[in-house]
Symmetry: C2
Subunit: 719 residues, 2 copies
């Protein structure tokens, strides 16, 4: 596991220390992600038809130049591998190699390698003793180096370089364009004859390639997939299917070309076609779960485990929304995956890959995924990423694309400086019957303000002098939030502002975010809690998507006990209905197969949606209670809350280690591998600890400093 840290997160840290590193295939930052995301998203099908996203899909720079200057102590022979046509210059002179091995002499050696590839991302791998491609190499898409009529080269001083990016590809045969997720065989748990074929049950929601053992004959074989039995048996309306043209005189084990989501598979061989049995190749991204959680409550443990499985299924080349559909990268969904990831896999590359893919390239022609709120989650996600990982280089790489997207937003404000849907904008917010999108919605302004704060912080990181400007716009907007949307009598933000007037209705959204963004003061938080969050007259949320934030708000208000009841009821409700992964939408008032329908289609709903796994995040952040307060957990806060549990235990990953905890009503055990933490807890009686000094803050609140590498065991009395 430790090596995996190095190859995913630690490589850039090693680079800082200038050690001779393992060679990596390198490329222009963001380009591999853009290319791979198009490839992945365009694998979606609907009943056999190709079904790509409806927003702009960008392409990589087809010609790029990589460079680095070395000062060699001894002669060195390097091997050059590329994906694409290439040339190589040594100290400014084109080298005419007819082999990919080049010997360089001692002294200053500047190497420039230009690579061209239309179909795949241009990449290069150089292996040598001290010369190896890695993130210390530079890359540009426009070297602007011309020569004049005397042969003198321009100084290329305006060339924009970025440090080359890489992932996990180190050997010549590990070509980035050939990357595939891993597979392993898995088997059905039962099968039943059905009209025309058989229904195979794999026991739980899963994803992979159907394998047909001993396939033989001439004709068609149809495969109908279902997340539910009803779906698989419904040949006319199931969302996905495969029609296989069989022409096999001898038996052959055959794996279908495209991986799919299913629990059940309805296999219908045509006349003249036969097979022995059906199994599958489960397809997955090999990524360890570093975070853990267990408690005294068996149902909550099951909810946690099913959440983890749901996250695993939806963490693939990128964080995707759902495995049956859409199999696309959606920013709002991804934002929640990033947060859950920090408490489970803590894989920085999964986050940056997804952020790069979502943003695509300039010019900006619409909001991210065409959705206004999804643009804002993208900014917020970058800020969170920096807080959890401290990865400054990523902020520097992506900052120009943050600027152009923010400029797009700023240019679309209405005359009051608010974000209101313009033609072509999808103002999404949530799947909610009858939710009005008229006017300038309060939730959009809340998210916009947070995005501007994110811009300001990132501007400071990269030392852009617009930092103050973004902060000012954020502050002005926050003032407007209260001036335009706060209703003193209702004690809450109203839903919208239409032609200068407050809408009458109140919805949960802006109010929820207002709580845990700390935009509301204590008094306002109180009224929001009673008048909105705990008020059944305010339209209920029926997606795990927005329940994520609703429950986060309640946790932030100290209502962990109530939230656990909500979890048992809502997530437990899905489990009672037979869920083996958490759903895109769940309305407890629905009955039977109504639960499977959405988008006007009987099986339109995804039964395995990443945004259903919020318990992972809530348990980690609000029950174990761990949150970074400085970038990369340089400093952090731990505020455990049992919420009525007898005990809980778990690991919360940090960039290069773990925070391990055990909490019962009498004892807290904690250790952290890095950074400096503050444990803050409530005790009825004075607590005691053999290690470290406990200080009293008043009101039954106590604090203890957690130094890295030490084990702490505190005896206390829970309130």
């Amino acid at each position: 596991m430790k090596f995996k840290f190095l190859s995913t997160v630690g490589l850039s840290l090693l680079a800082l220390f200038g050690q001779a590193q393992q060679a990596s295939w390198i490329w222009y930052p963001g380009d591999y992600e853009v290319w791979l995301s198009t490839k992945m998203q365009n694998r979606r099908t609907e009943r056999g038809s190709f079904f790509p996203p409806f927003w702009k899909l960008d392409a990589h720079y087809v010609t790029v130049e990589f460079s680095k200057e070395y000062d060699l102590k001894a002669a060195e022979t390097i091997e050059v591998f590329t994906e694409g046509q290439y040339n190589i210059k040594i100290n400014g002179k084109l080298s005419y190699p007819y082999s990919n091995k080049i010997t360089l002499q001692p002294g200053k050696q500047k190497i420039n390698i230009k690579v061209y590839n239309q179909a795949h991302v241009p990449t290069v791998l150089v292996k040598g003793k001290t010369i190896n491609t890695d993130n210390t190499w530079k890359v540009t898409f426009e070297d602007k180096e011309w020569i004049d009529e005397t042969g003198k080269a321009s100084d290329a001083s305006a060339t924009l370089y970025l440090p080359a990016a890489s992932w996990n590809f180190h050997e010549p045969h590990e070509k980035p364009s050939q990357f595939k997720l891993a597979t392993r065989p898995e088997y059905a748990v039962s099968k039943d004859k059905t009209a025309g074929g058989e229904l195979v049950d794999f026991g739980r929601e899963t994803f992979g390639f159907v394998k047909i053992h001993g396939l033989k004959g001439s004709g068609d074989l149809d495969v109908y997939y279902g997340e539910s039995k009803e779906e698989a048996l419904d040949k006319e309306y199931c969302e996905t299917l495969d029609k296989v043209r069989v022409g096999l005189p001898q038996k052959r084990d055959s794996v279908l070309e495209l991986s799919k989501a299913f629990r059940y598979v309805n296999v219908q061989p045509g006349n003249g076609v036969s097979y022995d049995s059906i199994s599958m190749l489960y397809e997955y991204l090999p990524l360890p779960n570093r975070g853990t959680f267990k408690s005294s409550d068996a149902l909550l443990n099951k909810i946690y485990d099913v959440s983890v499985y749901t996250m695993e299924l939806n963490t693939r080349e990128f964080f995707i929304d759902g495995i049956k559909r859409d199999r696309w990268i959606w920013s709002g969904d991804a934002q929640q995956s990033y947060l859950m990831n920090y408490y489970l896999q803590f894989d920085a590359p999964s986050v940056t890959r997804t952020l790069y893919a979502l943003r695509g390239k300039d010019p900006v022609t619409s909001h991210i995924n065409t959705i206004m709120d999804y643009t804002f989650y993208w900014f917020i996600g970058i800020y969170d990423y920096y807080l959890y990982t401290g990865d400054k280089q990523f902020i520097e790489n992506i900052y120009p694309r943050m600027q152009s997207l923010m400029d797009y937003c700023l240019g679309r404000r209405n005359k009051d400086g608010l974000m209101e849907g313009l033609t072509g904008d999808w103002v999404f917010v949530d799947w909610a019957d009858g939710l009005s999108k008229k006017g300038a919605l309060s939730v959009e302004q809340v998210l916009f303000a947070r995005s501007l704060e994110a811009m300001s912080i990132c501007a400071e990181i990269v030392k852009d002098n617009r930092a103050g400007e973004y902060k000012k716009v954020a502050d002005d907007l926050k003032a407007k939030l209260f001036r335009y949307y706060w209703n003193q009598q209702k004690g809450a933000f109203v839903h919208s502002r239409i032609e200068g007037n407050q809408s009458d209705n109140v919805t949960r959204y802006a109010n929820m975010f207002g709580v845990f963004f700390d935009y509301l003061n204590d008094e306002q938080k109180k009224t929001v809690k009673s008048n909105v969050l705990l008020n059944d007259k305010v339209a209920k949320i029926t997606t795990p998507y927005m329940r994520f934030y609703e429950l986060e708000a309640l946790c932030a208000l100290g209502d962990q006990k109530y939230v656990l009841d909500q979890m048992r009821s809502y997530w437990g409700g899905m489990l009672e209905l037979g869920a083996t992964s958490f759903w895109e939408e769940y309305n407890p008032d629905k009955k039977g197969t109504e639960h499977l329908a959405m988008y006007g289609r009987p099986y339109g709903k995804s039964l395995c949606h990443a945004w259903g796994a919020s318990p992972i995040y809530l348990f980690g952040k609000y029950y174990l209670g761990v949150k970074p307060t400085g970038p990369a957990y340089s400093t952090y806060l731990v505020e455990p809350e049992l919420g009525g549990l007898q005990w809980m235990e778990g690991n919360v990953p940090t960039p290069n280690g773990l925070i391990k905890m055990y909490v019962s009503t009498k004892e807290i055990k904690i250790s952290g591998d890095e950074g400096s933490g503050t444990l803050r807890f409530k005790s009825r009686k004075k607590p005691a600890s053999a290690q470290g000094t406990i200080t009293s803050v008043g009101n039954n609140v106590y604090e203890l400093t957690i130094q890295s590498g030490k084990q702490y065991a505190i005896k206390y009395t829970a309130l």
Copy 2:
């Protein structure tokens, strides 16, 4: 020849009349050009090394959607062919075809076809009775059509559509990605043994694939190319070469993989390799020359013929600069090719392909080809294109890209509102020893003003309300031109303005353009002519590139006779030195092999550069004297000038016809196939014409209106 007009220019006209058309492969406007230009430009090699351009190369949109709505009178079966993965929606519903034939019922049928292709441009060809893909189909890269949770589709009203683009691909097997130039066999005129091999002479500069007849053996065979004998024989310094690895047990006629420029080929078989003979496959774009010119002067006729051949060699997938090098698309070179094209091939697609390729895509990260003046020629080229062809649709398609490039320029002006080179800008102007690029050059402001005028005219065409704004900036800049650069005492524009002061030196550039852009008044034109253009103390121009405009200025001043002497001397000078095509640079003061060197390399100079063919343009525009005065020759002016010749004759192409002329000192014969022309000529005695009415304008100037389809024969007496 008539059909070729229809398939190149007339297709869009037919579309206006709604006739059932031939089906064409269609794509997103500009994308095919961007893709093909990268492919072509990346074929350049230098001594065997891959040598791509140093500016940003863009990529096509990888997923696009084509659509059209039909109202069918009868059921119709269509066949769908694509380059790329695709889906097809009929009236908003995904069709699940397992064959590419679809039958549509009578009534309203809306067809949407989405195509995805990373390696090649996504394209589609639909063939049916009335349903055929052509320029009446729409295309978008972002359909922004989402569905809500009830299944209702958004109205996609913000979707940006363009009319689909096409070229010459009509049949399923004529796939756009497979396009290749045509070839035909051509043969050497002589061969001589040389050390280690033989030197083969093809008699004149040419371009194509070397063919080795009866190649056999095991080992290497080296081919050294030379535009000159010296280059081909110089194995160490020739600019291009091929090293062939031979492994042929039996004799085989082998064609080399890459086409090259050469007159001579030095073939050096290694030990163990043998062959019978060398020939070539000449590679070319099949394009008829519609314009012609012949005169009483044999040398000028030869100059014209060699110019035509030079243009033919450099008119390929695009207008390129030179066939040995760079084999790239340069805007300044291309601008001259467009102009020559209007008097020779008059192929609109060659112009638009080149304009699209040069511009690439947003975002703008540098000037076109990184050169400031080359950005301006791009704007000017678009204006000229509209004047000659009247192709409004192209202006509409490219206008957004004109806006973003002009915004880039406007944002880079110095505090005086002038264009001065910033870091990363190549201020080129011309190849000229010691030409200073310091400060804000006058020629750049002249070209910038002309570009702003072009923007203003195009803005009016597309009805953009910024038209007046661009005009105002142009007028302000023209005023500054005189205020800052005109030197009354010198009677000319000075070269530059450095930190608020006029440079002392005067160069020809701004002054030349000032003449034929009509920025100078008659008095100023006089002083410029004597103090600059005819003044040997002002640094001479040594490239045919800038001589093009210098001679144009003199023609515009009525000095056609002098210009012919210059042509005989300068272009004739190259011919005397054995040129079979016109060169990139020619300095009559150089001697022997000095003529071959450039860029610090002994054979760096290109001996076949498009910009050497200016006589084509000058003869057509200033001797036959034909120029459009309304778009697409709706109206035109003919002002023949013999310049001392006894007679001349020629055809000047118009979009759908020819203007045919014969002019001697006594007679003018003229006819035009379209539009309404004005013949204006000088006669010492009163002229006579059987057809039409000649009117006297005074000062020996007479005019005759030329109506299309009529033949005119005028008897007159040349001055």
